[in-house]
């Protein structure tokens, strides 16, 4: 029973981290129809920038603020300089290849700057130590990460459903051209959301670093898991990203405990099953 609860909590931690990554991926796709193949690279870059900030300042919260901002700035530059030229219905492939090129450059930059070793990141001091719940000793940091993820999900939901900018984003998801026709500067909304999506990836990189460490190659793991999440949940919906993350996070954690060699296999079996039943994902309306 104790083991089960520990695994359950671990699964929720993974789920929440995945949600933060997948929400960014899903929002970017929903609004501008772009699959951001550099999303995993942005996650990893966020983690490494946070590592450097922490080594310089020794404070976790500084890293939590600076790293996403720096990576978001990079995202903004990429959107304005390159991606903007490639919007359009039949240009998916070009966008994908552009972001693939960006991913290659970012991961190579990471290797050049921080080396190719596994960097472990300590828990922030304020959240170190353990608490006991249901007779299980569990790290405070991980527990607070679950809370952080839930809070972020709620804030994102508030933003999308209850603010003016959120309404513009929702309208943009259904018909960006129409929104432009109403006199709203869609280009600026696109740029802002792309930067925001990359900031989410970097944020996940920061808070995930103490748990999963940082190493080249993690970028593709994160990207693929996030892709599986949005395929299961449905692209372009926050709800899909949330429930998809829960399914994948729990399946991955319990799968690793039961069949360590084939844990990934389980994830893809889930994905294959969803594809057979609902090719557009559980909550998806677009594509398919």
């Amino acid at each position: 029973m104790e083991a089960f609860i520990t695994q359950l909590l671990n699964g929720l931690v993974t789920s929440m981290l995945l949600f933060i990554v997948a929400a960014g991926l899903s929002l970017i796709f929903g609004l501008m129809d772009v699959i951001n193949l550099a999303h995993g690279a942005f996650y990893l870059l966020g983690g490494y920038v946070a590592l450097t900030v922490m080594e310089q300042s020794g404070e976790f919260w500084r890293a939590l603020i600076y790293a996403p901002l720096i990576v978001a700035l990079l995202g903004l530059i990429i959107e304005v300089v390159f991606l903007r030229r490639l919007y359009g219905r039949h240009r998916h492939l070009e966008q994908v290849l552009l972001m693939f090129g960006v991913a290659l450059i970012v991961t190579d930059f990471i290797r050049a700057t921080w080396g190719a070793f596994v960097e472990s990141v300590p828990n922030p001091e304020l959240l170190s130590g353990h608490v006991t719940i249901f007779n299980v000793q569990y790290p405070v940091y991980r527990l607070s990460l679950i809370g952080f993820g839930l809070m972020l999900a709620f804030l994102l939901w508030l933003f999308i459903e209850r603010t003016r900018l959120g309404a513009i984003v929702r309208a943009g998801v259904s018909d960006a051209q129409m929104v432009g026709g109403l006199g709203i500067d869609v280009q600026r909304v696109f740029a802002a959301m792309f930067a925001f999506g990359t900031a989410l990836a970097a944020l996940a990189g920061v808070v995930g670093a103490p748990i999963f460490s940082l190493y080249p190659g993690l970028d593709s793991e994160v990207l693929i898991l996030a892709l599986v999440v949005v395929v299961i949940g449905g692209l372009g919906t926050l709800k899909g990203a949330f429930y998809g993350s829960l399914v994948i996070g729990l399946a991955d954690t319990f799968g690793k405990a039961a069949l360590p060699e084939f844990s990934r296999f389980l994830l893809f079996a889930v994905m294959a099953a969803v594809l057979l039943i609902r090719p557009t994902g559980l909550f998806g309306q677009k594509g398919g």
């Binding site: 998916h92 070009e94 090719p279």
Partner: protein, 351 residues
């Protein structure tokens, strides 16, 4: 200066006009190649030819059937691993046995993955194929008892052919080069026959308008599955040759950057032609080789080159060539007597 520029700009046109002779000359050169260059360049040519097979196999999906698969490395890597497993565990090096087994194995794997992924289309298809290919990568990394984990399966011997006293082992670099050259020519010929057959036209019909093909009574799912299986099998053949050439099947062959690289080859060369992927494979592999010997930061440079290609040369090398031809023929209206062919520039290779 102006005449030099004019001459340079008509050079591609000259090549296209005298395509037959250019091809015969290239083939003759390919035959004597290992005896006129250094060993290093023979290895380089092998690499280019293997990736040319791989890129052509993706073009059947991407260019002819309109299936934007970002997981083509799955079949390349699977071919390499199957071959490495057959040779190192069972000691089978005879191509008469290994080639059919690898083709069959990768085609079946493609049918299995296609069965799930072909229910989606467009960007979803791209994501799902990427995810499935990456699943194979993670299996290759984690299931070390069979796949050797992150070390892969080393110690792949050279291939052989024939039986008993009539058997031959491709030990020398030259003989191995000829083996790859023959495989390349066979693949080109077979794929060319396929894309110009009724099956190939059905693939193109699906690329242009799938709903209409369905309305015409085609079971488009089955045709897409067939395209996926054929493309997968040829990618498996490329993987087999790669494992023999590198003497190892490594997980890197399954990694998503491999899928990206081969897709870049098709786009750089020009999709929907068979010569495009060959030119693209040569460009990418040669660039990669020269840049990586010059700087450790070659991935950054490759990434930058890919970005420039995507932004400025959407239709690839073959597209640039056929534009040059169009300009040339527009200047001399007397020779531009084939408007049908001009409007369908992707078929420029069908001489």
């Amino acid at each position: 200066m102006a005449t030099l520029k004019a001459r340079l700009s008509t050079a591609p046109v000259w090549l296209i006009r005298h395509q037959r002779w250019a091809l015969i000359a290239a083939l003759a050169f390919a035959c004597i190649y290992p005896y006129v260059v250094r060993l290093y360049f023979v290895t380089l040519a092998e690499d280019v030819l293997i990736f040319a097979i791989f890129a052509m196999s993706l073009d059947l999906l991407l260019g002819y059937t309109g299936l934007t698969s970002f997981g083509h490395a799955a079949f390349f890597g699977a071919g390499a691993y199957l071959l490495a497993y057959l040779t190192t565990r069972f000691g089978v090096t005879n191509l008469v046995i290994t080639v059919p087994l690898v083709l069959l194995g990768t085609a079946m794997l493609a049918m299995l993955i296609g069965f799930f992924t072909l229910r989606t289309r467009g960007i979803y298809f791209l994501m799902v194929t990427l995810a499935f290919a990456q699943m194979l990568f993670s299996i290759a990394i984690n299931w070390s008892a069979v796949t050797g984990g992150s070390d892969g399966l080393p110690g792949v011997p050279r291939p052989s052919i024939g039986i008993g006293p009539l058997s031959f082992t491709f030990d020398s670099r030259e003989s191995f080069y000829y083996l790859i050259l023959v495989c390349f020519l066979l693949t080109y010929w077979l794929l060319r026959r396929i894309v110009n057959s009724p099956l190939g036209w059905a693939f193109r019909g699906i690329r242009e308008n799938e709903a209409r093909m369905r309305a015409l009574g085609y079971n488009t799912f089955r045709f897409k599955l067939a395209s996926f299986a054929i493309g997968g099998a040829f990618a498996g053949l490329a993987g087999l040759l790669q494992a023999h050439s590198a003497r190892i099947a490594s997980p890197e062959n399954l990694y998503w950057t491999m899928s990206g690289q081969v897709m870049i080859m098709v786009i750089v060369g020009g999709a929907s032609t068979l010569s495009g992927p060959v030119l693209g494979a040569a460009t990418v592999r040669l660039l990669r080789n020269f840049i990586s010997s010059a700087t450790p930061r070659w991935e950054t440079l490759m990434g930058a080159i890919f970005i420039l290609f995507v932004l400025f040369a959407r239709r690839g090398i073959v597209g640039v060539l056929s534009d040059a031809r169009k300009r040339f023929e527009a200047e001399r209206p007397a020779t531009a007597a084939r408007p049908a062919e001009i409007s369908e520039s992707p078929q420029a290779e069908a001489e």
